[in-house]
């Protein structure tokens, strides 16, 4: 344990003790009207404080259980198409790329994703591996999404957005529920959830498996991007007193999925991912008001994939193995491709304290420490574990000087290996009525490179000799920065049951991490004489508008629409020598995207829905040019009662119009049909 870590733990204990003692000795006084008038908490991710969505300091989208069911979504990628400004694409059929204001990267790396507050951003891939989350869509209660930089609240990885997937609490359901889904591409998914209690422990145990064959074959070969996934998730809640809640989470997932892209179908390799997590969170509400929480968790990822590419002589097309030794200086030998063996682990501890200094002023602050490592020879060119430690301190204040005005001020300070990073945010809201708010906010986000980004050294090595070099990190790699301006309006028209949220924004990113090409000092015997260098050589500016509208013309009907217009102006250094050359990725994000969802419950048994999604033409950075497409999904649901059991049968049709391509031209998404059956066993 380093001195920094020791100091962090010591400081944490002192603060917790102070908070507990202040709560114990506080005099609650008489009950007052404040007790009846105070808000019952609502969800919020934007500032770590419970706030109604229209008073949050950033644009927020909530995907709740009703919307998940109404969308007929079969996977995470389907779900995020419901959010304005998001890009959701299938790198291969079971590996989604999901990003807010992303560029079509194979590994989108600028959005933080959390499950119940636990970060699942992987330091080794610098992205989220959606197959290793350990939970399924059925485990989700709602998803909170900050559209725009949330580094001021969630730190470095929330550079362009943050997502918190809130799973269903053990007390929300009872009994056992089973669900089976089958359909196109040999899909067979199963899921069981058991809710029960054991003494003071209320728990939810869910087990799931997913199987499918991925995209269809293409003329060049079989696309081996199918999936075999098994997972288990446990969530337990103990409430020893009215003021204390202990939340326990642990889970495990084993995902066997294809790694590769359809441009090179012959290079597809099955990869096995094993992920596990353990999380403990303690909430304590103070008698004098406010509360504090302590959250500690551990994530671990192991992955392995390798493919025998044959003998070196075969690859080089040399008949006599002795010629290999003659020309390359190494004996003929088997060449093994793929990631090899990979491990990463994260330990994180965070303390948070919420309090109110006055009726109009609320504050949340906290500090956290993280220790994590990544280990992979293929990406990092070395066998040892590369450890990084980081520490963070954050504070957010919500000040409401009058009924009409609200000011939010937030700051995140992170001590990382590239220095101390500051991410502030200022947001001013004007409430024209309880239902209409105009918000103006400015924020600056900074993102430190992930462990792998800072230690890239990908090369082909045989018998200790480097034969090809692919990518390395610039030794001067620093943090990237984004400055965002936003003007938003959140309105609700109760007479029409119509809610709308519109924002216009401008995002300027500087010192963005990108790759430039560099000539190798010593040319390698095989492959290119150039290497990619990850450096702070990119910048971009996005200007646009996003709209989401929810309309309930009748209680049983739901209409939801969203639209995003984004104009991107970008450049990056393609190479420095012999002369500097710039390039851009202006087309790497669809200019227009949006969707419409209609759902109606005809009777207490029958419901039906329709979802339309449109995406403008785009040239994904790591994929291909994809023409604009419109996709039409629909579902019909029948609920029934069998004795004491409630069942549900759902038929889902995806892409009922023409086939279209996802990410790569070869990823042909045709029409797909699924049937699912679920039964509650009380």
């Amino acid at each position: 344990m380093t001195d920094d870590l020791k100091r962090f733990y010591r400081a944490g204990w002192v603060i917790i003790c102070l908070c507990v003692s202040s709560g114990v000795f506080a005099n609650p006084g008489h009950i007052s009207e404040f007790d009846l008038l105070s808000e019952i908490p609502t969800v919020n991710i934007a500032s770590r404080m419970d706030q109604p969505v229209n008073l949050a300091p950033a644009s927020v989208t909530i995907i709740n259980r009703e919307l998940i069911d109404a969308s007929g979504a079969q996977n995470w990628g389907d779900l995020f198409r419901l959010v304005p400004g998001f890009q959701s694409y299938a790198v291969n059929d079971n590996r989604p790329g999901i990003a807010y204001h992303g560029f079509g990267d194979e590994f989108p790396n600028r959005m933080e994703v959390m499950i119940d507050g636990r970060s699942v951003y992987e330091p080794v891939f610098s992205t989220v591996l959606w197959g290793t989350l350990g939970i399924q869509l059925e485990d989700v209660d709602h998803i909170e999404i900050v559209r725009g930089s949330s580094a001021a609240t969630h730190g470095s990885n929330a550079f362009l957005g943050a997502v918190n997937i809130v799973t269903r609490e053990p007390t929300q359901d009872k009994g056992t529920t089973v669900k089976v889904t089958g359909g196109s591409r040999e899909t067979l998914n199963s899921w069981v959830r058991i809710n029960d209690s054991l003494g003071p422990l209320n728990y939810r145990l869910s087990l799931g498996s997913r199987h499918n064959d991925g995209f269809p074959s293409i003329p060049e070969g079989e696309l081996d991007d199918g999936r075999e996934l098994y997972q288990i998730a446990f969530r337990g809640t103990i409430t020893p007193s009215l003021h204390d809640v202990l939340d326990l989470n642990f889970g495990y997932a084993n995902d066997r999925v294809g790694l590769g892209d359809a441009d090179h179908p012959d290079e597809f390799i099955d990869a096995d991912y094993y992920s596990s997590y353990q999380s403990v969170e303690w909430h304590h509400s103070l008698l004098a008001g406010g509360e504090f929480s302590v959250h500690g968790y551990h994530n671990k990822l192991r992955a392995s994939n390798s493919a025998d590419r044959g003998l070196l002589s075969d690859i080089l097309g040399v008949d006599d193995p002795a010629l290999v030794a003659l020309f390359l200086g190494v004996p003929d030998q088997p060449v093994v491709g793929g990631l090899g063996s990979l491990t990463s682990e994260r330990f994180d501890l965070e303390f948070e304290h919420q309090f109110s200094m006055a009726d109009q002023l609320r504050t949340v602050w906290g500090l956290g420490g993280r220790s994590e490592y990544a280990q992979n020879r293929f990406l990092q060119g070395r066998d040892d574990k590369i450890w990084e430690e980081s520490f963070r301190w954050f504070m957010h204040n919500e000040w409401r000087p009058s009924a009409e005005w609200m000011l939010n001020v937030g700051l995140m300070a992170e001590k990382t290996f590239v220095g101390t990073l500051l991410s502030p945010r200022l947001s001013l809201s004007r409430l024209f009525s309880p239902h209409h708010t105009v918000r103006m906010s400015i924020s600056r986000g900074t993102r430190a490179p992930s462990i792998t980004e800072a230690n890239l050294d990908q090369k082909l090595e045989l018998s200790g000799i480097v034969f090809n070099a692919f990518v390395r990190s610039d030794e001067r790699l620093e943090e990237e920065e984004v400055t965002s301006f936003e003007l938003g309006w959140a309105g609700y028209f109760p007479q029409w049951h119509l809610g709308a949220d519109l924002n216009v924004f401008r995002e300027q990113a500087r010192h963005a991490m990108d790759d430039y090409q560099e000539d190798l000092a010593v040319p390698t015997p095989i492959g290119d004489d150039q290497i990619k260098v990850r450096s702070n050589t990119g910048e971009w500016e996005s200007v646009g508008a996003e709209l989401q509208v929810t309309y309930r013309p009748v209680t049983k009907g739901l209409i939801r629409a969203h639209y995003a217009y984004i104009d991107l102006d970008s450049d990056f250094v393609r190479q420095f020598a012999p002369e500097i050359q710039f390039d851009n990725f202006d087309q790497s994000r669809p200019r227009h995207s949006g969707g419409l969802l209609l759902n109606y419950q005809w009777t207490s048994q029958w419901a039906a829905g329709l979802t339309v999604y449109h995406q403008g033409e785009v040239n994904w950075r790591d994929g291909n040019f994809i023409d604009e497409y419109t996709r039409l999904d629909s579902h019909i649901t029948f609920k029934f009662v069998l004795g004491r059991h409630v069942g549900k049968l759902q038929l889902v049709a995806q892409n009922m119009t023409d086939d279209y391509s996802e990410f790569n031209e070869e990823n042909i998404f045709g029409s797909r049909y699924f049937a699912s059956f679920s039964l509650d066993l009380p």
């Binding site: 609650p28 008489h30 009950i31 007052s32 009207e33 404040f34 007790d35 009846l36 008038l37 105070s38 808000e39 019952i40 908490p41 609502t42 009703e66 609490e169 007390t171 929300q172 359901d173 009872k174 003071p200 209320n202 809640t237 409430t239 020893p240 007193s241 009215l242 003021h243 509400s285 103070l286 008698l287 008001g289 009726d359 109009q360 009058s402 009924a403 309930r552 209680t555 049983k556 419950q601 207490s604």
Partner: protein, 330 residues
């Protein structure tokens, strides 16, 4: 000439007006100095706000407007309490204290004045009456709606329900017995429990909710309300039991419906009560000076929850009408 005469006339009237004004001010000064402990004239009311929060202002605004409509001659002066600022030594005979803090301060600083408190909870009224010696007359329109009104609302929305559950927190223990007595005439079975802060809320709530057909959320201290709301809503939702809450916020969070007092309801009732008490100022003191539950109420409903629970909600206007009838029949 006419113009000069006009100017003279104007000057005369101005002088006359100034003299009258001086005389009146002198009279007021005299009244203040010599009649100070007897209070101001009956048509002057001081409204003391606990702080600058919007709901105190809203109560004060509605109270003032309502009072002006009934007694146009009455002058209403508002004072907002703030930290570190001392209250005036003399405030008058009639004080409207808005909020618990204003009430406590008014009782402490002006013990001989007549004080009408608005917006504080019934439990706070009982606490104050138990622990404070009050010299003047003291009445209140409390913020909490009586327990039986929540039960009535539950009966209206789920007419066949006969078992109602409720859990009382530490601050509302004192009102529990009275609440249960008032409900006894409604012909429903009440299943209740007490929940001290040291007890496990889920273990206490589970059997009550499981045995109930409707659950009534009883307001307590904010920290209690906040901490227990989640468990009430989770456990009742999974058992498909409707919850009747006590605020718009509760309804929004997942209660089927709520009955509560808006600042407008309290301000309106407060003004009416003030006029009534003033009209009978010479009556036997103390008879009408007591705590009143609010005459007016606001209902909020959650259509989404109703849909999930398969409860058909009448249109809002009809709901008020039906509920009022039930209330009158009680």
């Amino acid at each position: 000439m006419n113009g000069f005469a006009g100017v003279l006339q104007n000057m005369e009237s101005k002088i006359a007006l100034t003299l009258v004004r001086c005389a009146l001010q002198g009279l007021i000064l005299f009244a203040c100095v010599f009649l100070g402990d007897r209070g101001f004239a009956a048509n002057e009311v001081h409204v003391l706000l606990s702080n600058d929060a919007p709901y105190y202002h809203q109560v004060a605004k509605v109270f003032t407007a309502q009072l002006k409509a009934q007694q146009p001659a009455t002058e209403v002066r508002s004072i907002i309490m703030s930290d570190g600022v001392a209250l005036p030594e003399i405030l008058g005979q009639q004080i409207i204290a808005i909020g618990s803090e204003a009430t406590t301060e008014a009782l402490a600083n002006y013990p001989q004045s007549d004080i009408l408190s608005l917006l504080m909870p019934m439990a706070a009224w009982q606490d104050i009456n138990k622990n404070t010696s009050i010299e003047g007359r003291f009445a209140a329109v409390v913020i909490d709606q009586p327990f039986e009104r929540a039960v009535l609302l539950g009966l209206l929305l789920k007419p066949d329900a006969r078992r109602f559950g409720a859990v009382f927190g530490p601050a509302t223990q004192t009102t529990k017995t009275a609440s249960l007595e008032r409900v006894s005439s409604l012909g429903v079975e009440l299943i209740t429990a007490s929940l001290p802060p040291t007890d496990n809320p889920i273990s206490t709530l589970s059997p009550i909710i499981n045995a109930s057909e409707v659950f009534i959320a009883v307001p307590d201290r904010a920290v209690f309300n906040r901490n227990i709301a989640k468990w009430i809503l989770h456990l009742s939702y999974r058992e498909k039991i409707p919850v009747i809450g006590f605020s718009a916020s509760y309804t929004k969070a997942g209660a089927l419906a709520s009955i509560y007092s808006s600042p407008t309801d309290i301000g309106r009732h407060g003004a009416e009560l003030f006029v009534e008490l003033s009209a009978h100022a010479s009556d036997n003191a103390g008879k009408s000076w007591r705590a009143y539950y609010p005459k007016y109420y606001t209902l909020s409903i959650n259509g989404d929850v109703a849909r999930i629970l398969n409860i058909n909600l009448p249109p809002r206007e009809d709901l008020y009408g039906m509920y009022q009838k039930l209330l009158q029949a009680m």
